[in-house]
């Protein structure tokens, strides 16, 4: 917030942009609570983008202002924050939020007020099917379905016949369970066990035993942050020798630190930005991903980037040109009409290259990502420096 104020003051003094009222964009992220490890990089990215955009002259010559609220990973607070942004701050559009339940909860308030929203949460249900209410809702992250495809293909390639799932006892684990089990069934892989564990659990021996009793060829662990280390360690300690897959929720340095040695060989799907420097030179979003990571690391330190911030980057990458186009058609002071025009322009997004892929929206597709560019498989390996790192093992182009 302070940064926002200082930034605006600098603008007012120096650049003369402040003569025009700033374009207000509302942001809701989960900077605290269980989803904080996802929400914090998103918030950081947006702070970075706001500053950068204004330094470079704003959008169509007008400064932007991101009003960032924390929902503490809680639906109620997200809904409350949404109403506040719409009514009190009169924002043009909303970016957010991090978690699926809260993003679903935000659909009603934004649809009622007619405000376009770009969600940063994974679940397909947030934008599909596009109906009277979801007209207003877009999203940037790959769906769990899209992320399940690489896992299943990789399993097939490795000759996996049976797989087990163990995931968080929350919306994240639940979404993955649905998506993965469906994708596996389609690919002829039998899911022999589907277990749950809590982030706060200190033992998952019971669940792991159940999985071991079914002796699957591979196990997928559906969790985020560092908690998914526990089932993986328990599996290995109990003598499991099969393949272990994780989800992109663990694509953060803390996971490698806590897991250590035993993570070597773990495979997971991730947005291409995770391994930006290993992407083939002709990979379409290599450049955007590289530049994003450099900016982020320049501000928050080497190794600090994660794929989640990329979703926020992509949201702005879509919103910014849409704003420019909308400004040509309508005055922001005419708030309701401008929001309608802005919605249409977001839906008209074509060939926007983001950190996670290329976005082509339509009236029936409010995500616009194809998994071919949006997902890669990576593996945890011991790097040349002796530290654990992510290695790109497969792309799907």
């Amino acid at each position: 917030m302070k940064r926002v104020v200082v930034g605006l003051l600098a603008l007012g003094l120096g650049l003369g942009l402040a003569q025009q009222a700033p374009l207000k964009i509302g942001v809701v992220v989960s900077a605290t609570g269980p989803a904080a490890s996802l929400g914090i990089p998103e918030r950081n990215t947006l702070l970075l983008l706001e500053e950068q955009t204004n330094r470079r002259g704003g959008v169509a010559g007008r400064p932007v202002q991101f009003i960032i609220l924390d929902d503490a990973s809680d639906t109620t607070q997200a809904v409350r924050a949404t109403r506040r942004l719409i009514q009190e701050d009169q924002v043009l559009a909303i970016i957010g939020t991090t978690t699926t339940p809260a993003s679903l909860g935000m659909i009603d308030p934004v649809a009622e007020a007619g405000v376009p929203k770009i969600s940063l949460a994974a679940n397909l249900e947030i934008v599909f099917p596009v109906d009277e209410k979801r007209r207003w809702v877009f999203k940037t992250p790959q769906t769990e379905q899209q992320m399940s495809v690489p896992i299943v293909r990789d399993m097939q390639a490795a000759g996996v016949r049976t797989a087990a799932y163990i995931g968080f006892n929350d919306a994240y684990g639940e979404g993955w369970a649905r998506a993965f089990e469906a994708a596996a069934r389609e690919a002829g892989i039998q899911v022999v066990a589907s277990e749950r564990f809590a982030r706060t659990d200190t033992s998952v021996a019971g669940q792991v035993l159940r999985i071991l009793a079914r002796n699957p060829d591979a196990v997928l662990i559906g969790g985020s942050g560092t908690a998914p280390v526990l089932p993986q360690r328990t599996l290995r300690e109990r003598g499991y020798r099969g393949l272990i897959y994780q989800t992109h929720g663990v694509a953060n340095p803390d996971f490698l630190r806590v897991g250590g040695e035993l993570l070597i060989g773990t495979r997971l799907p991730a947005g291409p930005v995770l391994v930006f420097d290993q992407l083939p030179p002709d990979f379409p979003n290599r450049q955007v991903a590289t530049s994003y990571v450099q900016q982020y690391e320049g501000r928050f330190g080497i190794g600090s980037y994660s794929t989640f911030g990329g979703h926020a980057y992509d949201a702005w990458a879509i919103l910014r040109p849409a704003l420019e186009r909308a400004l040509r058609r309508e005055q922001p002071s005419n708030l309701a009409a401008f929001r309608r025009v802005l919605r249409d322009e977001i839906e008209a997004t074509r060939n926007v290259v983001g950190t996670h892929g290329i976005f082509n929206m339509s009236a029936t597709d409010h995500l616009g990502l194809r998994f071919n560019e949006a997902a890669v498989m990576v593996e945890v390996v011991r790097g040349s420096s002796g530290r654990l790192e992510w290695k790109l093992i497969r792309t799907f182009r």
Partner: protein, 588 residues
């Protein structure tokens, strides 16, 4: 019924303000959240403020009602008004199970089990995916409609929620002013004294707990149909604790206090969200730290919350002196001289100690019988067995021929036996009049529900008049509206007697009623007892004061080491050599 002008102004302000705001203003949605919190907090007012229990599981009751309503509306297409009673019923049923198990136990078991219950239910709501949609939740909960008008925006919903809050507050206020409310406050302070005047504390506690679940259930229903979306997070343990913090911060002992608390916490939450990260420079769960510390500090330094600080500046209502005829008196059956209370072979062992051994005596209608004996002779134990505080190890107690040993104090009291306590068991927080009015509990009938709906006004007036008359008889009427904690010891004993009188008993049991009275007071006391007996009451008293006893009573039973030593008129007993040896000699 009349409200103070201040209350009316506050309500009017509440109802008029939204008219000046746009229909989906953020402040109106905050107002809605405050209303939901206020309803839950009103339940906590009844539970904690009135009855001295606590629950960390109110949000789970909200969830139970919310999910029931949402599932029926989405799955079967029912109207929300139809699912309101069902949802609330589900919450209440949950409370019956949980409360039925724990309210008989000591105070801390209930809150502990509500913690566990809240966690368990939260997991259930999150994991039963086929039914509840799991943590992802369910969309498409229909809005509430009223006469074909859909309450879709914050403004119309604001009125709906606040109508419920005002109704809830009104009902809670009615309850506070009723016999049940008095009984709740009494059992909170002193379960034994309450039970001795006909209150069944376990049942009452269960009722209040279920009632608090009702409030939470209504809040849950309102919440879900306002959000139009349901998932488990708003029903977590943390949410429950937030409601408790709201109630405690505002002042859990008063109705405006808990509503204030809800507003305060909801407002604070919004404010802290902006301020704390600026102070600390980075985000963390600072609100949680602030909440925790606020709760701790309030309990340490202002355990009654913030409302008492505001209340000081408000005009106090003038207490009314009760008028009216009082309650219909108990018809006295049977003639003078018949045996009303018969103790036979009564025995009590505490471990190896034989406190009372084979005691037998009879109490006849219209007489004053004294039970005397040196300290430790077993008089009070005997008293406690007659009133069923203790179950006798052997022997029987019969009241008008009916065995009553081993029952409960409240059952015994309802038969027409009233007692006083050796060490006054009064309620210092309540006024003298309210203390005395507890005595009328068993003579009045109106239940919890009738009281809440304000249907017990007339009975309540009669009860207060009755209590006031009892105070007049013992000479405490001039102190009727004072708090009982300011009374001198002699006055406390008189108040004990007044409370017993207010219950219109057939038999009055007085446990050392004259201890601590001055000479003049003793004479007054003796005159009062004589007058009561003339009116047809029967009195059994325990006392040390020989002058008083010998001058007042008709017969004396002398106890020594748990056994009966002698029985007879005062004159006979005074001449009995064994008595002189064992007791009077000792005293001389």
């Amino acid at each position: 019924m009349c409200f103070s002008p201040l209350t009316l102004i506050a309500v009017l302000l509440l109802l008029v303000t939204p008219l000046f705001l746009p229909p989906s203003s953020f402040y109106l949605s905050l107002g809605n959240y405050i209303a939901f919190g206020a309803l839950v907090a009103l339940g906590l007012y009844l539970l904690t403020g009135l009855s001295g229990m606590t629950s960390f599981g109110q949000a789970a009751f909200m969830g139970l009602a919310g999910y029931t309503s949402a599932l029926l509306c989405i799955g079967l297409g029912w109207n929300p008004w139809l699912t309101l009673p069902l949802g609330v019923g589900a919450a209440m049923a949950g409370a019956v199970v949980l409360g039925g198990i724990t309210t008989r136990l000591k105070g801390h078991y209930l809150p502990l089990s509500t913690i566990a219950w809240c966690i368990a239910l939260y997991i259930l709501m999150g994991s039963w995916i086929e039914l509840t949609g799991g943590h992802t939740g369910l969309r498409g909960v229909p809005p509430v409609t009223l006469f074909g008008w859909s309450l879709n925006d914050s403004k119309s919903y604001f009125y709906l929620s606040w109508v419920f809050v005002l109704l809830g507050a009104w009902a809670a206020w009615n309850l506070t002013q009723s016999r049940s409310g008095r009984a709740m406050r009494a059992s909170k302070g002193d379960a034994l004294a309450a039970a001795s005047f006909g209150v069944n504390p376990a049942v009452l506690k269960l009722q209040v707990f279920v009632l608090s679940a009702l409030y939470a259930g209504v809040a849950g229903w309102l919440y879900v149909h306002y959000q139009k979306f349901i998932n488990p997070t708003p029903f977590s343990l943390e949410a429950s604790i937030k409601y408790l913090i709201a109630a405690v911060a505002g002042g859990v002992g008063s109705i405006p206090g808990v509503i204030l608390g809800s507003g305060l916490v909801t407002g604070l939450e919004e404010a802290l969200k902006g301020i704390l990260p600026q102070i600390f420079g980075r985000t963390g769960n600072y609100e949680i730290i602030a909440y925790g510390l606020i709760l701790v500090l309030i309990l340490m330094f202002a355990p009654k919350g913030l409302w008492p600080f505001l209340e000081r500046y408000l005009p106090r209502p003038q207490p009314q002196t009760p008028k009216g005829t009082g309650l219909p008196s108990r018809p006295i059956q049977g003639g003078a001289g018949e045996v009303v209370l018969e103790v036979e072979n009564l025995t009590k062992r505490f471990g190896g100690l034989l406190a009372v051994n084979g005691l037998s005596f009879q109490l006849r209608r219209g007489e004053i019988l004294a039970l005397i004996g040196p300290n430790g002779a077993g008089k009070s134990t005997c008293f406690n067995m007659i009133t069923s505080v203790y179950a006798p190890s052997a022997g029987s107690v019969r009241f008008k021929g009916q065995p009553i040993q081993g029952r409960t104090p409240y059952e015994v009291h309802r038969l027409g036996i009233a007692r006083t306590f050796q060490h006054p068991h009064l309620f210092p927080e309540m006024t003298v009049l309210e203390n005395a009015a507890l005595g009328t509990y068993a003579r009045t009938r109106r239940g919890l529900l009738a009281s809440m709906l304000g249907l017990s006004r007339r009975e309540e007036e009669a009860a207060l008049a009755e209590a006031y008359r009892a105070l007049e008889r013992v000479g405490l009427a001039h102190l009727a509206h004072h708090k009982a904690d300011g009374l001198a010891i002699g006055q406390l004993r008189l108040l004990e007697i007044a409370r017993a009188l207010a219950s219109g008993p057939e038999v009055l049991l007085l446990d050392e009623p004259a201890a601590g009275l001055r000479a003049g007071e003793k004479r007054q006391f003796a005159a009062l007892i004589r007058q009561l007996v003339n009116e047809g009451m029967t009195v059994l008293l325990v006392d040390h004061d020989m002058d008083l006893v010998m001058g007042l009573v008709d017969r004396v039973v002398v106890m020594h080491y748990g056994e009966k030593l002698a029985e007879g008129t005062p004159r006979e007993v005074q001449r009995n050599t064994r008595v002189i040896e064992a007791y009077l000699g000792e005293a001389a």
